[in-house]
Symmetry: C5
Subunit: 96 residues, 5 copies
């Protein structure tokens, strides 16, 4: 999994029933400390994450399908959690 | 998934029934704002995308096979949607 | 899938029945225009491609196994087609 | 698999039974000699690794699910072992 | 698949029956001519490769499991062959 921050949403019509009422998030990848890396991915939201929030992204299709219990979902990346805290061995720093 | 822009098509004979009458697109990867990145991929078209259009590409074989409901399709990347809008948290910017 | 050019062959004994009489190609990755990128992969040949030819490579194991209709093939990348033409939106340029 | 060093832990609520009581580690990738590379990943712990320990990470979902014997686990990367020694052909150097 | 050179071995205890008596190799990636690239991977040995030998690595879990005929093996990369020769279109150059 990787860490990232939601920076926007995508509007696109995907002709597959799985995508009805799903939100597609633009997630900027970050390092462990939250600093942006020059990369992003588009992920399906499952935790109702908003722009600016730090999130955990599962970037593997078979695992993503398990999150939705949808073995036929045409997906790769899923925002599976909002990050409540990162402990880099120097104490707890929650950054909502 | 990733964002990209269609920059051309590929003509090649692939000896598998799945590829009869399928269009192979050259998709330049872009950042969230639509700026080209120095990378591309070849994807099967499912939305009749044309050169210049911004698209959403699913880059995972098992997911791609679900889009076509073809469990034996020898594919990896599929253009699954034309982008209608990108909202980077500063309002809606549709860029057809 | 990606585009590449065959630059050589590999001789190696792989102890699996799938590899009997299979040709292993060294494929240099190229951009859409055919310019070499500083990367390569080793792919199983299915179209009898020769050194110098531009090819289309499927870089996903499950898809590759479908090309050979061999669900137990220990492969990842397959040269699935010789490129007959690339149309970058400025007309057709066949580059054999 | 890759080599890395545990540099912290992540606190995040993931709505899937697999993640109850699982520890999520931040693993900094290293080269074979243990020098840090400018990359990391988030992996599920299975060996009770602590911050600072050098570890072996399996970065493939289907393999990771086998480690947990959990075919429905929504995971990609797993810390599968603590490194007891690295022999780079110049003798054994254990670096716990 | 990729080409590499064995540069060492890893000692680590992995709690899964598959890893009993398996050798874990550190493989430095190389280009087609055998020049080292600044990258490596950890692969399970199946050909009894020694330090310094040029090898062929299959970097895909499902394919790797086929090599061992072990559908439940938690692996990703396997050293599947020792390279007997590389023909870069300028004649045969065996480099054991």
């Amino acid at each position: 999994m990787i860490l990232g921050r939601v920076i926007g949403t995508i509007t696109s019509t995907i002709n597959h029933p799985f995508y009805e009422a799903k939100k597609l998030l633009i997630v900027e990848k970050t390092d462990a400390g939250g600093e942006p890396l020059a990369d992003y991915l588009i992920a399906v939201d499952v935790v109702d994450a908003g722009v600016g929030e730090r999130v955990l992204v599962l970037d593997e299709g078979n695992g993503g399908r398990q999150i939705f219990a949808a073995p036929d979902a045409p997906i790769r990346s899923v925002v599976v959690g909002i990050i409540d805290g990162v402990d880099e061995g120097r104490g707890e720093s929650g950054e909502p």
